[in-house]
């Protein structure tokens, strides 16, 4: 339930991920099933469960969206697309426009445009994370105050999907380029 406690990390949004990765590694060293290969079944099972929970905690904490979800949940605020307030019509409108622009850039094979759009969204992702960092900074705040930040989760999920899509488009373009190159080489061979 509390990935922060599992990894011995402070309950805040901004974390020293490099240090946490080390903690995760040390815990894995202590708990990995390999270390219990000749132990009794109950110890092997206990080690397996703990190792899995340590891995799960690390998976949650290293990802900003899952980390934020965990922080809200620990404050008793439910998350998930059905539980969060609907995004504002203004945001939805903007989202639609951004997506259209991306689709257009893809159709035109305008990679520069794709990269610019992605960079702009990346900036907004960063801004959202900064707001979460300021709110979940380890000091105690009221649930109401924090719940007002809940729409940030939906926004971040959108940004993530957008960035994934943009990099898929870039990848697709690179593949096409490479395929063309390979064909070119064939002609020379």
């Amino acid at each position: 339930m509390d990935p922060f406690a599992t990894l011995g990390a402070p309950r805040r949004f901004d974390l020293d991920l490099a240090a946490l990765e080390k903690t995760h590694r040390e815990l894995s060293r202590a708990l990995h099933p390999d270390k219990f290969a000749s132990a009794s079944a109950s110890e092997r099972r206990a080690a397996l469960e703990k190792a899995a929970s340590v891995n799960e905690a690390w998976r949650v904490l290293r990802d900003p969206i899952r980390r934020a979800e965990a922080l809200f949940q620990l404050e008793g605020i439910e998350v998930g697309e059905t539980k969060e307030p609907k995004p504002s019509p203004a945001f939805l409108m903007e989202v639609m426009e951004q997506r259209e622009e991306l689709a257009e850039a893809r159709a035109k094979k305008d990679l520069d445009r794709v990269r610019k759009l992605a960079a702009a969204i990346g900036e907004r992702m960063k801004a959202a994370q900064e707001r979460l960092g300021a709110a979940f900074d380890g000091s105690s705040r009221s649930a109401d105050e924090l719940a007002r930040l809940l729409p940030l989760l939906g926004e971040m999920r959108f940004y993530r999907r957008f960035l994934d899509e943009a990099s898929a488009i870039e990848e697709e373009a690179e593949e096409a380029l490479l395929a063309a190159e390979a064909n070119g080489e064939k002609v020379h061979a």
């Binding site: 339930m1 509390d2 990935p3 406690a5 599992t6 990894l7 011995g8 990390a9 240090a19 903690t23 590694r25 040390e26 815990l27 894995s28 060293r29 202590a30 708990l31 990995h32 099933p33 390999d34 270390k35 290969a37 000749s38 132990a39 009794s40 079944a41 109950s42 110890e43 099972r45 206990a46 397996l48 469960e49 703990k50 190792a51 899995a52 929970s53 891995n55 799960e56 905690a57 690390w58 998976r59 949650v60 899952r66 979800e69 949940q73 998350v79 998930g80 697309e81 059905t82 539980k83 990099s167 990848e171 690179e174 593949e175 490479l178 395929a179 390979a182 080489e185 064939k186 061979a189």
Partner: protein, 650 residues
């Protein structure tokens, strides 16, 4: 396999009858298989009397029931194409209707009878064999080879392509059991290779392993840091490899000879495929290879340039997987400290050039790419058997493909995304879609696509007996657990009624436990071994392991015992020790289970202490808090929508 005269080197070794059984590492490859062990702290492959480490993964079924494996079987393949199974690994864990099973090849398949699991079945001399049984024959041959050399063989680590899905892994493990091996671990091939390299060179850094085997392609990006091998990402194609190069060349041979492969006899197909392999090998050094036309007529000649043209699409497919793996790992090609080549197909000059260009650096190849995986497996087996070096070596591997379940609309809800470190566990909560829905159908799938229909179906099961409630009221909690072998088990529980069910995921394409048990019994009919005696021996070994480990734990952490707990554990220990003196395997197993139950809470407390100690090394102030909280599986998975009701017939 033929028994050999003692090799000269064997004469120099002194056989110690009290030496513990030696753990072995097995590379069960598509084309070739190898077995290795650690000797004098160095991994070595175990060779036959001709000094040959490689056992071709070819199994021939003779007219009087004899089974021949390896080089000799390979020689029989052309004459008996249907009785000789080549590259059986391609069929592991696949359905009989899988397109992969229908590609160019000489075999005759038998559709599964009503009620039989949907696995590939070869028709061989009037009986049917499954890929698991064929693979078990290869494993038996390797086990015999190891026994000839080591006398007593302990557990085995068997390698699998990193990109193998759950069904393919399960099939491999079943084959190991069927061959009478204690499978210590399934180990991913690239990780095994990295282990062989990493221990050899004692390097830290970021590495890519490019593994183009006979029938599978894997790429793995991993970080080596003071003995910890952490896999960051893995990608690949479990149906792409050197065989595809052979097939492309074979099709070229048919073309040049003016023949249609569709009308060729099984024996002609086998001859041409073998010829293609020889051409491929020849082109490693020569610019042009001339061969006899297998159908008569003038010589055929194939140039390296033409071959490279033919394999370009295969290489391009590997490139896509490599770029995705780098991206998943969050590592740029320029950040890599080394690229390791694995698999015989990486000997092809065009492959080396392609890899060098892809990663922007010359790949490492100082360990024989055919042997490196088996050597790594031997190291891991040694470590698992507690015989390894004192260095703290640890492998942290990942699941190659996302695991999830089908929710409303046929959409996949991912529970464990690809590249999650194993062992892993996560849970998700679902609700009912319809009023008065009294069952949940749970469809477990693996893959990256959005729709369940496009993913690999691993298992279906139904949780029934839920009292009628309005839609959305029932709450079904589904827990996925993936163990260190990468094998999945699924647990489902309805929270309001407490109704629950656990499945080890096997059925869709695998063999169930009874089938494997039956195969083991069938093996006895062939006079191979006495199952009861083996079960007793296994139970005794397990009993002594459990007893000694329990005693060690009691001695290590006596302060963690609660009042009366030591007495309960010692009573269970005494009962086990008395059971071991008898000959009833079942009684021993039950005593082990009792001891297990008696030590359960104690084991949990010991793990909490281990966690606390590990965290203490990192940050002292938070230890107490962590110990309090680090209990059970902590998953933060949001509610994910309704599950459809099971079909009315079910």
């Amino acid at each position: 396999m033929s028994q050999s005269e003692p090799r000269s080197s064997a004469l120099l070794e002194i056989f110690d009858p009290k030496a513990p059984p030696k753990p072995i590492g097995i590379d069960l490859g598509t084309t070739n298989s190898l077995v290795a062990c650690v000797k004098n702290e160095r991994p070595v492959t175990i060779k036959d009397c001709d000094g040959d480490a490689i056992v071709p993964s070819v199994v021939h079924y003779g007219p009087s029931g004899e089974v021949i494996v390896g080089r000799h079987a390979q020689r029989l393949a052309a004459e008996h194409p249907r009785e000789t199974i080549v590259s059986v690994k391609r069929f592991m864990g696949r359905g009989g209707d899988d397109p992969e099973t229908r590609r160019l090849g000489p075999y005759e398949f038998v559709p599964p009878a009503e009620g039989e699991p949907n696995v590939v079945r070869f028709a061989v001399r009037g009986k049917t064999v499954t890929p698991v049984e064929v693979s078990a024959e290869i494993l038996r041959a390797l086990k015999r080879r190891a026994e000839d050399e080591l006398r007593s063989v302990g557990g085995a680590v068997i390698t699998v392509p990193a990109y193998f899905d759950d069904a393919q892994r399960q099939a491999t493990k079943d084959a190991g059991r069927l061959a009478g091996l204690e499978v210590l671990r399934l180990l991913n091939e690239p990780t095994a290779a990295a282990l062989a390299y990493g221990l050899e060179k004692k390097q830290n850094g970021k590495f890519a392993v490019y593994d183009l085997g006979g029938g599978t392609f894997d790429v793995t990006i991993l970080v080596l840091d003071d003995g910890v091998f952490q896999v960051r990402s893995t990608g690949g194609d479990s149906a792409l490899g050197g065989d595809d190069m052979d097939r492309a060349l074979a099709e070229e041979v048919f073309r040049l000879a003016g023949r249609d492969p569709a009308t060729a006899s099984p024996s002609e197909v086998r001859v041409v495929l073998d010829l293609a392999r020889r051409i491929k090998h020849g082109l490693t050094d020569a610019e042009i290879v001339d061969v006899e036309n297998p159908f008569g007529g003038s010589q055929l000649s194939i140039s390296r340039a033409r071959f490279e043209e033919l394999v370009a699409p295969i290489l391009a497919r590997t490139g896509v997987a490599c770029r995705r793996a780098l991206k998943d790992a969050g590592i740029e090609a320029s950040e890599l400290d080394g690229v390791i080549l694995v698999g015989g197909a990486t000997r092809v000059p065009a492959v080396k050039r392609y890899v060098a260009k892809l990663f922007g650096r010359e790949p490492l190849g100082d360990i024989d790419p055919d042997e490196v995986v088996a050597l790594g497996a031997a190291i891991q087996a040694d470590l698992l058997a507690g015989q390894g070096r004192p260095d703290d070596v640890l492998l942290l591997d990942v699941i190659p493909l996302s695991l999830g379940i089908e929710v409303g609309g046929g959409v996949v809800d991912r529970i464990l995304p690809r590249n999650t470190t194993i062992p892993a566990a996560a849970r998700a909560t679902y609700t009912t879609q319809e009023d008065n829905q009294t069952g949940f159908e749970i469809h477990v799938v693996q893959g990256e696509r959005e729709l369940a229909a496009d993913c690999r179906s691993l298992a279906r099961f139904t949780l029934k007996g839920i009292p009628p409630m309005p839609a959305g009221m029932a709450r079904l909690e589904v827990t996925f657990r993936v163990d260190a072998d990468g094998l999945l088990s699924v647990h489902a529980r309805e929270e309001r009624t407490g109704k629950e069910q656990t499945v080890s995921v096997k059925p869709s394409y695998g063999l169930d436990d009874e089938t494997v048990e039956q195969m083991l019994l069938d093996a006895i009919d062939h006079g191979e071994e006495d199952l009861a005696a083996r079960k007793l021996a296994e139970a005794r070994v397990e009993a002594s392991r459990v007893a000694s480990s329990t005693k060690k734990s009691l001695a290590a952490d006596p302060d963690l015992l609660e009042p009366g707990e030591r007495e309960r554990i010692e009573a269970a220990l005494a009962a086990l020790e008395s059971a071991v003196k008898g000959t009833d395997a079942r009684r021993i197993e039950l005593a082990i289970e009792d001891l297990d139950a008696a030590t359960k809470d104690f084991a949990g407390r010991r793990m909490n202490r281990a966690i606390a100690a590990a965290i203490a090394g990192q940050s002292l102030e938070t230890v107490e808090k962590s110990v309090e909280h680090a209990k059970g599986i902590e998953a933060a998975h949001a509610e994910s929508g309704p599950l459809p009701p099971p079909p009315p017939s079910g």
